[in-house]
Assembly symmetry: C2
Homo-oligomer: 415 residues x 2
């Protein structure tokens, strides 16, 4: 008997009608001969409401109580989904995290999964149950308290179950129909990808393509869980959605898989800092402590023993970053002549595993931008990604130009 994991996000179970529609999808897979583990989120808006109540009650809340409160929405949808499946004559039951049990660390609010013993659910499948509906996002700590896995944690729950139960696939039903070469709202030639490699998906996820939680992709990559992203609002079909898989499963491949972007970036430059061992640690230690998520870092060529240090961070962290730097200067940690802030920048990246074996991607990227008269302010590269910081007003133009130059709008992509 092959086992399939299906995960439905908040918009896919937003009300009774949508729960019924999702149950119908599950019914199709049961009819296809699968045993199914369904992972459900809370109805959309529900978790935000609960988080709001917690914050209103106690601004510096005890994370254990936060978890006890915010995990309740998933219990509701799990029970309702099981009831609906029973109405369709499909033997089903709901499982709360502590009932599985989904064992996690005690890091409340951001707990990590430690183990998912499979015996309880496997025994029920053996007794004729066809669908186990599991409340996503939640687990149980060694102390017996309810834990949660952090926002979007239901994706991680789904992948972890797929790994633990050796599922043939993990289908993530959401409100988009797959992963695109870029955001269709920015570039009308954007095309849905049939397949994408784990590594590419990771880069795209962390760049802001909010289709899948980054942790869930990491976990899928580690355990080789075939992950399919698809819409719960479209007709079921064999080729629906995007399969996130091992790169070996992608037969033909564009060099570049997609163009990602991030609008709300800021660029900060510390002018004339001493170029000596330990200076980077002296700068980025305090930034990290202040909760600034530094992304790109560029150090200029040194001149007379001094250099300029440029970094980028999200726009809304600029004040924190400035304070951290000025405090460090006041403490005498290091000196700088000036701190220049540019809050009008955006980041554009091209991502693709093909880059590893294909030279010239960077040159082609820079030429395409130059042809449009777009100036590059900062560049960083990784094995499968090249990112540039540019003026925000050129962002859409840059995305379209890169999408064109790498032929992402053309049908012959990946199969």
């Amino acid at each position: 008997m092959s086992l399939l994991v299906m995960k439905f996000g908040g918009t896919s179970v937003a009300n009774i009608d949508r729960i019924h529609r999702a149950a119908k999808r599950v019914g199709l897979e049961v009819a296809n001969g699968h045993d199914v583990i369904v992972i459900v989120s809370a109805m959309s808006g529900e978790t935000n409401k609960l988080v709001g109540w917690v914050q209103e009650t106690s601004p510096l809340y005890d994370a254990r109580e936060y978890d006890a409160v915010t995990s309740s929405g998933e219990n509701v949808t799990a029970g309702l989904m099981a009831l609906r499946l029973q109405e369709m004559d499909i033997p089903a039951r709901s499982w709360q995290g502590w009932q599985v049990p989904l064992n996690t660390t005690s890091a409340h609010g951001t707990a990590r999964i430690e183990a998912i013993p499979t015996d309880n659910i496997t025994r029920k499948f053996g007794e004729g149950m066809k669908v186990a509906v599991v409340a996503g996002f939640q687990g149980i700590s060694p102390e017996g308290r309810v834990t949660t896995l952090g926002r979007g944690g239901s994706d991680t729950t789904a992948v972890a179950f797929a790994a633990a139960f050796d599922a043939i696939r993990c289908d993530i039903y959401t409100d988009v129909d797959g992963v695109y070469t870029t955001d269709p709202r920015i570039c009308d030639k954007a095309r849905k990808l049939d397949r994408i490699a784990f590594e590419e998906m990771l880069e795209l996820a962390s760049l802001g393509a909010k289709v899948l939680q980054t942790r869930s992709v990491e976990l899928a990559m580690r355990y080789k869980v075939r992950l399919r992203v698809l819409s719960s609002f479209e007709e079921a079909s064999e080729t629906a959605g995007t399969l996130v898989c091992d790169e070996e499963d992608i037969m033909e491949s564009n060099v570049v898989a997609g163009v990602a972007f991030s609008r709300d970036e800021a660029k900060m430059t510390l002018v004339s800092v001493a170029d000596k061992p330990g200076i980077a640690a002296a700068i980025f230690g305090p930034l990290s402590e202040a909760g600034v998520n530094v992304d790109m870092i560029v150090q200029n060529i040194s001149e007379d023993g001094r250099t300029d240090m440029t970094f980028s961070c999200p726009n809304d962290q600029v004040l924190r970053a400035e304070k951290a730097m000025n405090d460090a200067k006041a403490r005498g940690d290091f000196a700088f002549a000036d701190l220049v802030v540019d809050q009008g920048v955006a980041k554009v990246s091209v991502v693709g595993i093909g880059m590893r074996s294909h030279a010239g991607v960077a040159a082609q990227m820079f030429k395409a931008l130059a042809d449009e008269g777009i100036n590059i302010k900062v560049i960083t590269t990784s094995e499968i990604k090249i990112s540039v910081l540019i003026d925000r007003k050129y962002m859409e133009l840059a995305v379209q130009a890169l999408h064109d130059t790498f032929g992402l709008g053309e049908e012959l992509g990946r199969v």
Copy 2:
């Protein structure tokens, strides 16, 4: 260290502001030197919403899933209450039913409490916790599934905790400020009782004074739990509310404690049934099977071996009762000449433990009604209660007359 149980109903925790007010009450008792176990209901309206979703999803629902869904509201208020207490620097934590564990039978939807092991919570009190906030209404079955105790079950949870932990008192906070001699909306001389005996409260509760769930009063009587009903919307005071207690704790006592009534009654008479052994069983067996809650039963004097059998039931069960009787007649179980239905009646009762040692209560009651020209249709009596069925249009008049004749509006009542 003395332990107090405090229970807050749905209207007392209806929103964040009310949860804060309830927490303040708890804080006062902690300042008074008590360890406290707080039992919370779901925010008012929340459980009804969840029940509605269950019924919409599956009209003939699996009670196990019903319980999994409908118990979630209490988890939310328990967590929020614990958070609020922590904000007030009071060491507190929430407990879900399975965490205590509150062990129940497997009768989902109407589970009965089997045991409440006290070690987990007692150990936490030993470690400095001052308040245990427990989600009411829910428990765990021997199979490890979530159970619920039936509507109003949080009262029962509270009394069971008070019994298990040998609490000095169980305070039930609700939206009324105590138990009244009768409904103030019917009789403006109605007066709050300072004390009422368990037996009286039981009669009043089952007569429709919806202050306390009947099961919780039964449980309190069995374990001698001193139960106080009071409003969460009034200032705290030593004499607030009504204490439901053993009759020995009531020093001085009116003969009659209160006047209860029930508006939606129907009277049915089977005319000319055979007066022979087994006839009552033949009539009331089918009624019971049809789900008719027969209340009062009167059998007329026999004449020529035939008699009339009169009984009362809630108005909305008349159709069911008629069908059950006609079906029984058609089956040949028994014969009757006619079935007369009177849907325009009400039941009025006087209740008081003093009746046991005080003759003449019935006579005084009947005289008061006669003085107002009110005809009595049916009479039943128990050790501490006399009930009459009268025309519904005289109900308010009857309640007022009885309230007057037994001096219930006078200040010197019970102390």
